[in-house]
């Protein structure tokens, strides 16, 4: 499964589509019911929230304009929201102009993330966020 331009774009597009459908269901189901359906395997098996648990709730409060609440629920929601917002636009522009700027950007980021000076701080950040998630009891 070597990743090429079209494969990456279809994966990202499907992921974004699934994300939007998921968000739509999250927003339309009644808030007074006890939270939306939780699908996280880790949370179901161990009862401990995973690093990205709560990002749905975070993105949902972002769409309602509660920026501070979103940050308090899970800061990763911001990253998810930015990716979900930007990548479909970027894919459409790339396909329309027959370029592969997003693919090149993705590869550049991938190489950067593999370097220890970027990887180690990011891993620590994710772990701290995880600890915070557990203490918050998401």
């Amino acid at each position: 499964m070597t990743l090429n331009r079209n494969k990456l774009y279809s994966i990202m597009f499907i992921a974004c589509l699934a994300g939007y459908i998921w968000l739509y269901f999250g927003l339309t189901t009644n808030d007074t019911e006890n939270n939306s359906v939780e699908v996280c395997i880790i949370k179901h098996t161990t009862n401990i929230p995973c690093p990205s648990c709560g990002s749905t709730r975070s993105v949902m409060s972002l769409t309602k304009g509660n920026f501070i609440e979103a940050l308090l629920i899970n800061p990763l929601g911001y990253i998810v929201a930015i990716i979900m917002f930007l990548s479909p636009l970027w894919i459409v522009i790339d396909i329309a102009t027959k370029k592969k700027t997003l693919f090149e950007f993705y590869q550049k980021i991938e190489i950067k993330l593999k370097k220890p000076q970027y990887a180690i701080p990011l891993i620590l950040l994710v772990i701290f966020n995880w600890i915070w998630n557990i203490t918050k009891g998401l």
């Binding site: 990743l3 996280c40 993705y106 994710v126």
Partner: protein, 112 residues
């Protein structure tokens, strides 16, 4: 290279590659110069079984993808709780093939 050497390499490393790739690798190795043997025999390959174990245990954190070098997909899996749990399950079945493909990519730079 001598056929005996190549066959020895194939026998000890066949689990790292897809079955349909092994014939190509064998032919390429036989055509290859002897001076590349040292590099070929010491190349570090990832074990598909290890990545399967990691995928089952920590798949929804994307660690399996990080391990085989798909950092971008790993970040995607990490941020979405393993693709809402669905991608994590799909990867239980995909990760071995993905690891073998990665191994093939790694050895290809010596073959050509």
């Amino acid at each position: 290279m001598e056929a005996q050497k190549v066959d020895m390499f194939i026998m000890s490393n066949s689990k790292f590659f897809e079955s349909h790739q092994i014939n190509v690798i064998r032919e390429r190795l036989i055509a290859l110069d002897d001076s590349k043997w040292a590099m070929i025999s010491t190349v570090q390959l990832k074990d598909p079984t290890t990545s399967l174990i990691i995928s089952i245990l920590a798949g929804s954190l994307g660690i399996d993808r990080f391990m085989i070098g798909d950092t971008g997909l790993g970040v995607g899996k990490l941020l979405t709780c393993g693709g809402l749990g669905i991608w994590a399950i799909i990867d239980w079945f995909m990760i071995q093939g993905a690891t073998r493909e990665k191994n093939m990519q790694k050895i290809q730079q010596f073959l050509y």
